[in-house]
């Protein structure tokens, strides 16, 4: 165990680290500047439990109906050994629909490490030396076990997805149950699916690289299978995730340099849910967060950070803070605007703007009152 790993284990407390999945890795790209989040996620802290312990439980329920619907749709698309899925994917990729394809479910069995080995072996088995061979048989792999290095730890990913090998290239196939209506999907859901798929592309590429196969065989174009319009009919779309790949890669690299981040973290910092709430809250306060309203949708600790960020203009949203001349503190904004406080030279411009805003607001409100 390296010294960093030891540090992280101490921070986490006497519990096993939380397992990352594509969703949590994707969420890491949301607020890359937040040190608190990087350290907690790097240490694999149970954030939902931590949030509850400090009195700000997360609100990330998922409706049973949504879960059922997702499972039903996935089962429907994968039915019959993936015949329909193969047709959808091949047609979307513009390659002839293969007469047959092998279907390998890599989901069953032993421990994660063993499964990962099996996935790696079967995925690269019988791969022709050159990707130009169009005659090689198409193959679909369900539930491949993939792995990624996250903050120096090997993280196993168990995606529900299918890796399709068609015309010599691998494509990540992601089945999602949100509808695409007249060619348009919910932008937020689509964006989340793109980042998640990027995580899988990255993991699949690493797998190939580890087997000395060209990682570029994994296409950056992901096939997204969604219900069409208001029906249950699946329809495939291509999603280019090159940009998301860069973002995820960058954030993972940053987490690899957790050592650097840890040097600024106080030695007695703990996020052990077993510690008493006050100690935890006090400890968390020592590591700076970078709260923004967007955190509410993606981070379990957001309500705690929001409470802490009261009185900060950034808590109203980054555009608000920028419109207020970048002044972070609410009291300072009001003091500068009211002229009760002399501005530092570098705040002079912002202060003039705030004074003008205060005067104009008062002017317009009294004129009509």
């Amino acid at each position: 165990m390296t010294s960093s790993e030891q540090r992280l284990a101490t921070i986490r407390g006497a519990v096993p680290p939380q397992r990352h999945n594509a969703r949590t890795i994707a969420a890491l790209t949301g607020n890359p500047g937040c040190t608190r989040r990087a350290v907690l996620d790097g240490a694999g802290v149970d954030k939902p439990l931590l949030a509850e312990r400090v009195g700000f439980p997360a609100r990330f329920g998922q409706s049973r109906f949504a879960i059922t619907r997702g499972n039903v749709f996935e089962a429907q698309v994968k039915a019959d050994g993936g015949v329909e899925l193969l047709r959808l994917v091949a047609e979307r990729l513009g390659v002839p629909v293969p007469a047959a394809a092998s279907w390998t479910d890599l989901g069953d069995g032993d421990d994660p490490a063993g499964r990962a080995r099996r996935s790696a072996a079967l995925l690269t088995e019988a791969l022709p030396p050159a990707p130009t061979d169009h005659d090689e048989p198409a193959a679909l792999f369900d539930h491949p076990m993939l792995g990624l290095e996250v903050a120096g730890q090997r993280v196993h990913l168990e995606p529900d997805l299918v890796a399709a090998r068609l015309a010599g290239r691998f494509h990540v196939v992601e089945i999602k149950s949100f509808p695409v209506i007249d060619g348009q999907a919910d932008p937020a859901k689509l964006a989340a699916a793109a980042v998640q798929s990027a995580v899988y592309v990255l993991a699949l590429r690493e797998l190939l690289a580890a087997q000395s196969v060209d990682p570029q065989l994994v296409s950056p174009e992901v096939v997204l299978v969604c219900p069409r319009d208001f029906t249950n009919q699946p329809v495939a779309h291509l999603l280019d995730v090159r940009k998301q790949l860069l973002v995820v890669r960058r954030q993972l690299d940053r987490m690899d340099r957790l050592d650097t981040l840890l040097t600024d973290v106080p030695a007695d910092f703990t996020a052990d849910p077993a510690a008493d709430p006050e100690t935890l809250a006090g400890s968390l306060a020592q590591v700076p967060a970078r709260y923004a309203p967007e955190c509410l949708a993606s981070c379990e600790l957001a309500y705690f950070c929001r409470h802490e960020a009261r009185g900060q203009t950034g808590a109203l949203g980054r555009p608000v803070r920028e419109a207020l001349g970048g002044i972070a503190d609410l009291d300072e904004v009001l003091a500068l605007a009211g002229g009760q406080r002399a501005a530092d030279p570098e705040q002079e411009e912002a202060a003039a703007l705030l004074r003008a805003a205060a005067r104009l607001r008062a002017d317009a409100l009294t004129a009509t009152a």
Binding site: R59, G61, Q62, S63, R64, F65, A66, I67, T68, R69, G70, V72, R92, F178, P179, I181, D182, G183, A185, E221, L224, R228, D229, F230, T231, N232, Q233, V235, A236, H237, L238, L239, D240, P293, L296, A297, T313, L316, G317, P319, V320, R321, E322, A323, L324, G325, L330, V333, L334, L353, L354, A356, A357, A358, L360, R361, D363, A364, L365, T368
Partner: protein
Amino acid sequence: MSTLRAFAAAQALAAGAAQPVATVRHLHLSRRPLVLIPLSMAGEANAPLAAMVGSAPGDGRLLIVPQPRNRDQRFAFATELAATLLPYVDAHRTGTEAVSVDRGRDVRYRYLDAPQLLVPNPAGVTFLRLLGRSTRFRRIDGEYPVPPQVPLLGRWLTFFAERAEHPGSSALVAMTQALTLHWATGQSAVEDLHLPALLSWIAPPAGLSGAEAAARAEDPSVCPPAGPATDPEFDNQLLAPAIEAYAAADDETARVEAYAQLEGLLRDQLTPTWELMWRGLGLLRALEPGARVSGRWDGDRDAFTAYADHLADGGAPQPRRDGAVAAAARLHRLERAAETYAVQRAYDDPLVMAEHRLTGEAFVGEVVLADPTRVDDSGRRPVLRPRIQLVTTEPVLVPVGASMSSPTRPGQKARVVFVTPAADGKVEVVLELSGGMGRGLTATPGSVPEVGQRLCYTTLSEAYVPGGAFPAVEETPWTHGGPPAAGPAADSATDGAAGGALRVAAELKPEPEPDEEWA
């Protein structure tokens, strides 16, 4: 986010109560709006679960779908909603007025009033848009017939959803947007989408500050979400067992009982939002409407009249997607509307104009010199061109030669002649006036500002700008795909093209396919 609005948010946070960002109301409110709160089933493609609808606070009708995945029940819901919405819409097709067009050479008629729908939030607008999309192409004959009201409802809902995209329209209003247009809260825009929290900031219950009340309103067990998405806890703990009980009921008594149970649950989820909607409406009604609000409502009445005529003539439902020319024309229309709306709000409301004063596009100054009799005789024929000089303390970031006007004198143009910095950070501005002073070489009394008056001048102009010209559909330029082919062949040709964006299989069949797969 303008600095002025951000500053109002900062003040709201410091005060613990919402702060006004408008001094007049910028939307039209119908005497009898139809409030509609839809709920949808989680995970499904816009499957209605329930709705509360009505045009008076004591008259909320509850519609529920006991099995939201059942296709027949979804259309039964649409039929029931149509039974409220269509008569409401039709009730506005009574009196008409004549409007002269083409400079009085012709006349057209428009209805004296138009329907107005109020939903809690933008997601409610999206729900109605998709409900319109899923019903407007339904056939009333053939293999899967639906009652004739269903496609008609779909067309009207689509009409409303399209109006909601039109800046300044009041035909379909999301309450959260209407409220944030007039008040700034001490929370972020994301949090403002939650109607209970937003209203807590604006009008907290007695004994609580806005901030405290908003924190309370965030708990879904205290304040159910304003839809269309339901609280997952509610789904898992209460709704799912009730739906299962209804499905399992094997005799009439059990079914009636299970239905009543389900109805009670959904009523409890919807009633708090129903009350909030009318409270929000009351707050908005207390504001005086801006001077140009009724003019914009005329536009809504025009659109309503035109669409009612279109339907009466047996017109086709709105297409799934606009063609290239129609899309360009729509975009142009929306951009023009957005521009007009921004100018009109500033003209109507000094607090909105203050945003433009802060950015140097407008200033308020005192008239210190006036030459109301000045005549410019350098041209072919002498013209009356009075000049005035104003002194202001505000920044004037307007170039010489620019054309300005004053909200109180919209018919008069003022050309900037000099902008001269004076002592104590003041600025002197000399303006040359034209128009709005009567005919002849003597200005009618009062038409030229007098010394001592305080006036606002801005570069924002209400002047009419003619719309752009667009080619006919059959002359669509090749840059935009060329003229559409008559058959579906064009669709499949573009479909195979490479590209990274989300691509979708073309829908080749002109008529919709039945949703028989809803399990």
